[in-house]
């Protein structure tokens, strides 16, 4: 019931974030103009992957939080896919200049989303359908964060779409690498154990929530 309330409120807040001046110019990197299409694809695939592993610690913690509530691989991959679809939408909109997200707003909300998901892991016993909707909404916010990273790298003048697509694929591969590593290291062997929740899920989630709260405060006030 309460999940539904949050689902109704969050889109309103997100709509507010979209109300921004339309960007007049994209960040173009003309030094990349010499790259072939396959060169662009490979460069941005790497960039996407690198913005998760090792550069995106906040995104890594978010993905790990998704993994902790249910270690069933198919469930985690569903959540990660919802997250990817969502961040692809806002990343595309931001890169094409339709929206211009404010880093001072987006970065603290990304941290807050990690805090929320991590604490939800402790307070909720099992995965609810509403979780996918929340993750989708958070994915929209994280996409605006990725847009900042992609803008910093710049885009080749002729291959916008290839760069955007392969950057997204790189991000998705980075997320899958995190999920698979967590699954192979922990989930595969211990998730069915009776102590798994008390020894693994709750302490890890509490730690992630603590780090995320610190980031939220730091990014909001400092």
């Amino acid at each position: 019931m309460k999940t539904n309330i949050s689902c109704r409120r969050l889109p309103l807040l997100l709509l507010c974030l979209f109300i921004a001046a339309v960007a007049q110019a994209h960040t173009i990197n003309y030094d990349l103009a010499k790259l072939s299409q396959s060169g662009v694809a490979w460069t941005y695939l790497q960039q996407g992957f690198l913005h998760i592993l090792p550069l995106g610690l906040d995104h890594i913690l978010f993905v790990l939080s998704l993994f902790l509530l249910s270690s069933k691989l198919s469930t985690v991959i569903w959540q990660a896919t919802a997250f990817t679809v969502a961040h692809s939408i806002t990343l595309g909109l931001a890169v094409y200049g339709v929206i211009e997200p404010l880093p001072a707003v987006i970065e603290p909300i990304i941290a807050l989303s990690i805090f929320f998901v991590a604490l939800e892991n402790i307070l909720v016993q099992q995965l609810k359908p509403g979780r996918i909707a929340i993750i989708f909404l958070f994915g929209l916010v994280h996409g605006m964060g990725f847009a900042g990273a992609l803008t910093a790298v710049g885009l080749p003048p002729a291959d916008y779409f290839t760069a955007l697509l392969t950057f997204n694929i790189g991000v998705e591969l980075g997320q899958l690498a995190v999920i698979l590593s967590a699954y192979l290291l922990v989930g595969r062997w211990f998730s069915e154990k009776s102590w798994y929740r008390n020894i693994v899920v709750n302490p890890s989630s509490a730690f992630i929530a603590f780090v995320a709260l610190f980031w939220t405060i730091e990014r909001t006030f400092f």
Binding site: S6, L13, Q24, Y30, D31, A104, V105, P108, L123
Partner: protein, 445 residues
């Protein structure tokens, strides 16, 4: 935990996150982070323009507080930051600060001519030459009668190795407005095409067009000093550096100039003193690199290694920053290649020389660096086409001539090689020992 407590806490979490999100939105939307001046250190704090710069920036920041959307004020502030970056050597911070302001103006008015010009200028300063040229071309379309745009296009074309286009742009620039900036460009182009007397004449006109003591005038005087160094007239070069120090006390590039003169005369302790003084004024990586060389020549390997390490770390950090975020740092592959050669690690120099060459395949400096690095890696045959490209403008740069001679000699072109070496050494007999030893062994000197 009881289910009811769990439900209560979960509800609280949702309410807390929703309220906090609203707070972040309201708070974040209000945040206007305006960049500020960094305090100057040491002798730079006593430079004549520092008080004026501080007052100007303070006033502009106050104006922006009152009118946050005023484009003119933002661009004036961006200009101040770019100038301060040049004076302090902190390009990374000030270029980013300027670019943020310029981008804000362009987000509201994509056709703002001045903003486009400044953006191109920042890109060139960050060694993003293709970006700088593309942006300057936009400005040219908007206003073909502005000398500043021709200056930008001249610089971008020089760096990209499009020298014929650069000549056209320099001609147009000096035609529209003959001043210190346009004469400086003419001088540089003449130097590239091997016309040393013409280059000296143009830079003297540039100096006459500027105000003595101003940074740009004294920078032009440094160029004149360099040209004298490259034409075996050390006394004249020394005179320029001393004049610059009189007009602008502790000017770091003049101190470095006197350091070079001392080094040519093999007075290494004096050279080290000059460079140490210069590096205390601004954080310029080339000064650190020179100190590494000088300490080695002065038989102080510990200090030399320390400076080499600091230089390498600074260059690597700058390069990584530029790769991660092109709005910060600047590409420093050519400097890294030269630094690895200095450290006698030619294998590590090669990828950097290749990266720089890929970025600017027609630029004579990038070609020369790649050719020399290949030669140092025992690939003299592969080096030949690159050094040939580097010589195509008939540039009379002494080190380039000597390096070309050594590479040609290694490829069996004995006579051409010896001629180039003789020419280079006659222009600058006091150049780096590591090169002159090899060169003299070839010509039998």
């Amino acid at each position: 935990m009881k289910p009811s407590l769990r439900k209560f806490l979960y509800g609280t979490l949702i309410v807390f996150c929703t309220v906090f999100t609203a707070f972040i939105f309201i708070n974040g939307s209000k945040k206007t982070t305006l960049p500020e001046l960094k305090p100057r250190q040491g002798a730079l704090a006593n430079a004549p323009e520092w008080a004026t710069t501080q007052a100007k920036v303070k006033k502009l920041l106050e104006e922006l507080e009152a009118k946050p959307e005023d484009a003119r004020t933002k661009l004036m502030l961006a200009k101040e930051f770019m100038q301060e970056g040049r004076i302090s050597g902190d390009y990374s911070y000030y270029n980013k600060a300027a670019l943020d302001l310029i981008n804000k103006v362009l987000a509201k008015d994509a056709a703002n001519f001045e903003a486009i010009c400044l953006k191109s200028m920042v890109y060139l300063s960050q060694h993003r030459f293709s970006d700088g040229k593309a942006v300057a071309m936009e400005a040219l379309k908007a206003n073909p009668y502005n000398s500043f745009v021709y200056g930008l296009l001249c610089d971008a074309n020089v760096e990209l190795g499009a020298y014929d286009e650069a000549v056209v742009m320099a001609d147009k620039m000096v035609g529209v407005r003959p001043d210190i900036r346009s004469y400086s460009r003419v001088s540089y182009i003449r130097e590239i095409f091997g016309d040393l007397p013409g280059s000296i004449e143009a830079i003297q006109m540039a100096i006459s067009a500027g105000f003595p003591g101003q940074e740009d005038t004294e920078w032009a005087r440094m160029v004149l000093g360099h040209l004298y160094e490259d034409s075996n007239r050390l006394d004249k070069a020394e005179e320029q550096y001393k004049t610059a120090l009189r007009e602008r006390p502790d000017y770091p590039f003049a101190l470095a100039g006197l350091g070079r003169i001392a080094a040519y005369k093999k007075d290494y302790p004096a050279a080290i003193q000059y460079y140490e003084k210069a590096r205390n004024v601004i954080s310029e990586v080339s000064f650190l690199e020179q100190l590494a060389v000088l300490y080695r020549l002065n038989n102080q390997p510990k200090e030399a290694d320390e400076y080499a390490r600091i230089t390498l770390n600074a260059l690597l950090a700058d390069n990584i920053t530029a790769q991660k975020n092109q709005d910060e740092g600047h590409y420093s592959d050519m400097e890294l290649a030269n630094m690895y050669l200095l450290l006698n690690e030619p294998a590590k120099a090669l990828p950097h020389a290749q990266t720089e060459h890929q970025r600017r395949p027609q630029n004579i400096d990038a070609c020369e660096t790649l050719a020399w690095v290949l030669y140092q890696n025992g690939q003299a045959a592969q080096a030949l086409p690159f050094i040939t490209t580097a010589l195509r403008t008939q540039s009379q740069h002494p080190e380039r001539l000597v390096k070309a001679g050594i590479i040609m000699n290694a490829n069996g072109q004995k006579k051409e090689g010896a001629d180039l070496i003789n020419k280079g050494l006659s222009l600058k007999p006091y150049m780096d020992e590591t090169i002159t030893k090899t060169a003299q062994s070839i010509i039998g000197g």
